[in-house]
Symmetry: C2
Subunit: 692 residues, 2 copies
């Protein structure tokens, strides 16, 4: 699609209505809602009103009646505390967000929570608030758009052709993640990403020059971005021109060079408020009735907006984007119909991917993978088992989009013929595995953006210890219920010589405490394969897959036991008269089996429960749980990590590591920390004796 064609999606400019009245409508709604809630952030919506107006009323491609329309432009409010800006825009342009919801701003179960939440409010693309992550999500969306376009667009059929727009403030640009993802976006020349920077010189503590003196224009140029500097953020025509230029560059390049664009908008926080504009005081609290009145009085064009919640009809009509939206979306429907006629298989695949459905033969794919894994019966590291699983899944699921934070050969996240995602000067070149660079947090939040965009199931790897770096993005994936697979290898002291900085003793336990996060720590290749299958099947939440660096024994199982892996915890080895149950995960299941042999020599029978996923086990019905962990039989858990999480299963003893690791070969460390079959057998004996 050329720039000209694309501009058919642009909105008519309505010279008969002053833009000032439209901007003022944003301002009064933001002030009124924050006042009513007695909580919130009026300064940003008031400062970005003209920017929002220029973008939303003149350029944004969207259909308020169909917020889920696939080829809409994505809009991300990375400075999410300014949520009332977005709610005002959605309300005024015609989304299903009535005034009553705005009046309920920040109240329980309203559609207008304190920060924008995807899935709660129609038109909200991602949950923002934790600064910098919205920007990272947007990079993921823009990446997914390019990748999907490369996959599905055909000559004359620009099925996938939308922009991703982001609002950011100083806070987002101070956060380290902004460096990670903007550096990556520049390297990958994501030209359909446009960032509008609310450069107001104020953050919560006051004038940013005392703690943030960056030359942001120069910084983004260093990333290879196009920058439109020094735009008056309150001059709608200037903003309009800058946005139009960015759109042109997004489609045609700038002097032939493709890159994302930053528009630096010089603004005044709280613009319009006589006494708070330009100060940190405008940022995060209600203005109070007097200042709201003074602000209204100072507006030149606010006729008919004199009282709270009043929006006159002329302003509403000027904002209403439904007719325009229906037209643009209808045009795309036409393209898709023609595409379907010409490329029926591609169209069907595209539709499946957009629905987020797995291929029809999914269960066959899993069966083949499991059968192959069982047949091979390999004693290998589970990270290698993970790669073996990917060699089945990658070719069968074109939506799998992998990557690693510069540890591809260690995480083993690539699969055969995946192809590295690369860009050339001529444009975007697709690939199935992304070298994210040493950017764990950026990678994770970009993956969230890819999942939110749709069309892909992203996964990406790093060492488990460095899940710390990306932790809030994992939380956001869980909060947003996104299907993202976080691959964490080198999952314990078993990594050996790299030492305590790299040995994750507490991470399995702490990841399990993130609500809605599934954590899998498989014990062998079969559990690894089914962990992958479960993660991919889980459409409503993320999974963290924890894999060993070191080889682990292959475990033989009945067909029923293989199936039982999907329940998160199951009986791996039973006993006629179990005197104790040993619960183990990952690399410690092998130790548990050895301990069982030792105990048997003393005539002590124990049951071994493998528990690759506690959260999945916890979701099983009471009967299953009781069948795995029978009442009245003592329980001992073993895991090469902190013990704190295991007591919820009413264990009598837990064998683990409540200190940091050491630098030494893995075998030496397991001995040193007492994670041995002998020690475990002794522990079981003590527990049994204590119960007697």
């Amino acid at each position: 699609m050329t720039s000209n064609e694309r501009s058919s999606g642009a909105h008519d400019v309505r010279p008969d209505l002053t833009t000032a009245r439209m901007a003022d409508a944003i301002r009064v709604l933001a002030m009124d809602a924050v006042q009513q809630a007695n909580s919130g952030h009026p300064g940003m919506p008031m400062g970005m009103a003209e920017i929002a107006l220029a973008l939303w009323s003149r350029h944004l491609k969207h259909d308020p009646a169909q917020p889920g329309w696939f080829d809409r432009d994505r809009f991300v409010l990375s400075n999410g505390h300014g949520s009332m800006l977005l709610y005002a825009l959605l309300h005024l342009t015609g989304y299903d967000l009535p005034l009553q919801e705005l009046r309920n701003f920040r109240q329980l179960h309203s559609k207008t929570p304190g920060h924008p939440e995807v899935g709660v409010t129609p038109g909200v693309e991602t949950t923002t608030g934790p600064l910098g992550q919205g920007l990272a999500n947007a990079v993921g969306m823009a990446l997914a758009e390019r990748q999907l376009a490369a996959e599905f667009n055909r000559e004359g059929f620009p099925l996938v052709d939308h922009l991703t727009w982001v609002f950011v403030g100083d806070g987002c640009l101070m956060e380290g993640i902004s460096h990670e993802v903007c550096s990556l976006a520049g390297t990958l020349r994501l030209s359909k990403l446009v960032v509008l920077y609310d450069d107001n010189g104020i953050s919560i503590d006051g004038e940013v020059r005392h703690w943030f003196a960056d030359d942001s224009v120069r910084r983004f140029q260093a990333y290879g971005w196009h920058v439109i500097a020094d735009v008056d953020g309150h001059d709608v025509e200037a903003l309009d021109a800058a946005i139009a230029l960015a759109r042109d560059w997004s489609a045609n390049g700038r002097d032939g060079r493709f890159a994302p664009t930053l528009i630096q908008c010089r603004t005044v926080i709280g613009k319009g408020s006589p006494n708070r504009a330009g100060t940190a005081k405008a940022h995060g609290e209600p203005f109070g009735a007097d200042e709201i009145r003074a602000t209204r009085d100072a507006m030149l064009a606010a006729d008919g907006m004199g009282e709270p919640w009043q929006i006159p009809d002329d302003v509403r009509q000027a904002w209403d984007a439904r007719e325009q939206g229906a037209r643009v979306r209808g045009a795309w429907d036409g393209i898709f119909d023609a595409y379907r006629a010409r490329f029926p298989a591609e169209a069907a695949e595209f539709a499946r991917r957009m629905r987020g459905e797995l291929p029809a033969d999914w269960l066959d794919i899993v069966d083949r993978m499991v059968d192959d894994t069982v047949a091979k019966a390999e004693k290998i590291a589970t990270r290698k088992a993970s790669q073996n699983a990917l060699n089945h899944l990658g070719p069968a699921l074109p939506e799998l989009l992998g990557g690693s934070a510069d540890l591809t050969g260690s995480n083993l996240t690539d699969f055969k013929d995946a192809g590295a995602l690369r860009v050339s000067d001529e444009g975007f070149v697709a690939g199935r595995h992304i070298n994210y660079g040493v950017r764990e947090f950026g990678m994770s939040a970009v993956m969230n953006g890819i999942a939110l965009h749709g069309g892909y199931i992203p996964y990406g790897g790093t060492f488990l210890t460095f899940s710390d770096y990306s932790r809030n993005a994992l939380r956001m994936a869980a909060l947003m219920k996104q299907r993202v697979v976080f691959v964490f290898t080198h999952d314990s002291i078993g990594l050996g010589e790299d030492g305590p900085t790299h040995q994750s003793v507490e991470h399995a336990a702490t990841l399990r405490l993130i609500p809605q996060m599934d954590v899998w720590r498989p014990a062998d290749p079969v559990e690894s394969a089914l962990a992958w299958a479960s993660a991919i099947e889980r459409a409503d939440g993320p999974s963290s897959l924890l894999f060993t660096r070191q080889a682990v024994p292959f475990l033989t199982r009945s067909e029923g036991q293989v199936e039982a892996i999907r329940r998160g915890g199951y009986v791996l080895r039973d006993a006629g008269q179990a005197q104790a149950v040993i619960i183990a995960t990952g690399s410690e299941v092998g130790i548990a089996l050895e301990a069982r042999e030792r105990l048997l020599q003393d005539g002590i029978e124990v049951r071994i429960v493998s528990m690759p996923s506690t959260s999945v086990f916890d979701r099983q019905d009471a009967a299953w749980k009781a069948s795995v962990l029978p009442a009245g039989v003592p329980r001992v858990a073993i895991e090469a990590g902190v013990t704190g999480g295991w007591w919820k299963y009413r264990c009598d003893a837990v064998l683990g590591i409540d200190s940091y690791g050491e630098s030494a070969p893995a075998g030496v460390l397991f001995e040193h920390f007492g994670l041995t079959a002998a020690k475990l057998a002794d522990t079981v004996r003590s527990v049994i004796a204590g119960r007697d």
Copy 2:
């Protein structure tokens, strides 16, 4: 001190020995140690050998015999995987690190662990490996140096006058934290910080241009840094000149402008290896005997280094820095003696601060703080109670150096007359409270650097949820046993309307799982004051202090109970015949007290245990623990967060929140999530009934 005076600390250049032989000594030691360990990273030490040589043999101010000498230059190996470079330097320059330790590289309890660890190896200033954080520590060291100089230096007495040197690689510069701290260092014009960038174009996945195309020179210029670009990283004379220039700028400014300096060194990873140099294959694995032999053979000046571990005497003598070090350190001792004669009080205070001892009247300070807090008996938010504590502690402890990640007015981390730390064009201006900007991770790692430097006890605040952003720095503080106080306010759903992105449901529990981290979640102003006292007294580890946004009841206590707070868990309200124990923390202690009243009305007596710090309680002797949590009495825990951590106390029920929060006023949320006295009383009744 002028540049000239300072250069007296520089080393003599020894033209009689070829620098090539000195550099080759680094290379062979790195190769041999990695080969012997069959694990490690030879590429970086070999690629940075000349850089290390230029710095360590010609500029670094240090005394190998006294690694703890206060005014030494600080050297940070931020790309810590190249640990063998540092071990080789320490060994060759004369630190107490004999060859046997190098031969024991990466073995259990050696002084040469896989990554450098402070406290394990003499001369190692900080533990590195998690990329980017060494650089951040260095920013903290350079900041502490300037602040301490402003505090103690007097005309003619440059007591505090050292540089901080950092080696970084592409990985460090890709990490987001590098943005946060270099932006801050530029803003604060930390001119005594010099970063040497190992720009070798290679990271683990291969050629970085595919995922890291930054113009790093331009990027650092955008931060306001001085940059010396394009230095041949294998030309010792060119490096020497660049380092000399950076030293000059550090002392005199560049055209009068003070700023940190980046030296971009173009290098070849694995330099010297015929078949691996310049490739990712050189990065992280042993070369093997054949390639080591080939590398030795290719060295022009390696006479006498032909066999593993051989270092000839001429090379050893050239590297030996002990005589030079004794001279430089002796000169400083002279300055300090003269300073002490002239300024005895300042010298005594300086010595105390360097020893990390608290003031002699510390316990009186605490007593006054506690007495004042008890007398006021305020019903306030614990974040406000924390500020009240700081108003006692700040003036009394000049070593307290506070800050906030752009939430000063919310975290309440400043105290009366603290003074914001500010820089002017004329130079560094001291202050007691740092506006860190929106940089949680950077702030935390900078604080670690401040603590490692010595002279200050750093603390800094953000919202508890955003402890996620800084999590690995918290872990590093704990691993390094540094006295750093992490202040986390807005510690639960009690923050209300900001909603689930800001409501930390899992964070208290997950922080508690970081080994060696003390977590305090105080219930009222008195517990808040003693949490602060405990954190400051804890010389060998960090503390996280969790405070509420909302007001909590003041709790009356006996003197013994006040003292018992220091034990982490204690009986707040006892019962003659307790039928159950309720364990509560923070804002839920008030709910527990209400539940107790309700139960009393039914004739049910319960004991209330306040447990502000589980780790501190867990360190008490068995008698104390049993006296607080008597055997045989049912236990119910309540905390506004995930329940998983409480089962280790063998609770019969835990009341908490195992899902995400919501956006609504705090009171509404406590009702919504069932964290009420009524629900708690019902839970206790059920537990008692179940036990009957």
